[in-house]
């Protein structure tokens, strides 16, 4: 599991996750995600390259997202695969963290 960050215009932090968000993958990114959540106010979590998402992986997304939102920030999820999006919808996370497939729309939702 790999994680990279990029600062975009408008104060947006883009976090790109790459790999399997299973138990091991979640453990590998947990600390970094929490650190990022501590400093970001507009967080775009890029899921394009996430090939698997389990409930522990969900936790690694929801907890940092909650931290950002609790300080008045915004979080969006970007471009999950069909199966990953199905996990997000089944668990109801998409009701709390909006999912976008168009980058311009995702960025607009953060403003």
């Amino acid at each position: 599991m790999e994680l990279s960050t990029q600062e975009l215009d408008g104060g947006v932090t883009r976090v790109a996750l790459d790999g399997r968000m299973d138990i091991a993958g979640a453990a590998a990114v947990d600390m970094k995600m929490n650190l990022i959540a501590g400093s970001a106010n507009k967080l775009l979590i890029d899921l394009q390259k996430v090939t698997f998402l389990g409930s522990m992986g969900l936790r690694s997304i929801v907890l940092p997202a909650r931290a950002v939102k609790s300080k008045g920030g915004k979080v969006v999820l970007f471009a999950p695969t069909e199966m990953v999006e199905s996990v997000l919808k089944t668990s109801g996370i998409d009701a709390i963290l909006p999912v976008h497939h168009d980058l311009a729309n995702a960025l607009a939702a953060l403003q």
Binding site: D22, L53, G54, S55, M56, V62, L63, G92, A95
Partner: protein, 159 residues
């Protein structure tokens, strides 16, 4: 270290690469790293389609982590087994057995139609995980065993 137990002691030469039908895991989350290579090998054996394979991984991860975290309450020193059987064409069953106190993840009252009101709802033991298992499996069945539990998760490979 956990063990992979072959059901047949004397395998024919041509079947040497065949994955064992049983995986035995210790009651610790890091032992779950053994799941992926085992399931990948079974996917080749049973021609499990990619989407179904996603569901197999999802359901097994959820079910087994439930056993370790909640059934065994995170205590080391226990084991659980996962058997893969294919009772008929285009169907595979994963049978998870443990020796934990009674723990039925299937019949719990889950508010399926009601969206979670808080992100913490996803983190409750057995909370949203059962929704994922129901969504991504073909069938779920729980049996209380003498001194343990059995959860059978079925997948229809034609879907």
């Amino acid at each position: 270290m956990s063990t992979l137990v072959s059901p047949v002691s004397a395998m024919p030469q041509k079947d040497i690469a065949k994955p064992p039908s049983r995986l035995t895991l210790k009651s610790q989350l890091d032992d779950m790293a053994l799941l992926w290579p085992w399931v990948e090998a079974l996917a080749l054996e049973y021609a499990i389609p990619e989407d179904a394979l996603f569901g197999v991984h999802l359901c097994l991860e959820e079910a087994i982590s439930n056993v370790i975290r909640h059934g065994y309450n995170g205590e080391p020193g226990h084991t659980l087994s996962v058997d893969c059987v294919s009772p008929k064409a285009h169907e595979v069953l994963f049978v998870i057995e443990d020796q934990a106190p009674p723990f039925d993840p299937v019949s719990g009252s889950i508010p399926e139609e009601q969206p979670a009101s808080s992100p913490m709802d996803y983190l409750r033991p057995g909370g949203r995980g059962i929704l994922l298992m129901r969504k991504f499996s073909g069938s779920l069945a729980y049996e209380r065993l003498p001194g343990g539990n059995r959860l059978t998760i079925g997948f229809d490979l034609t879907r």
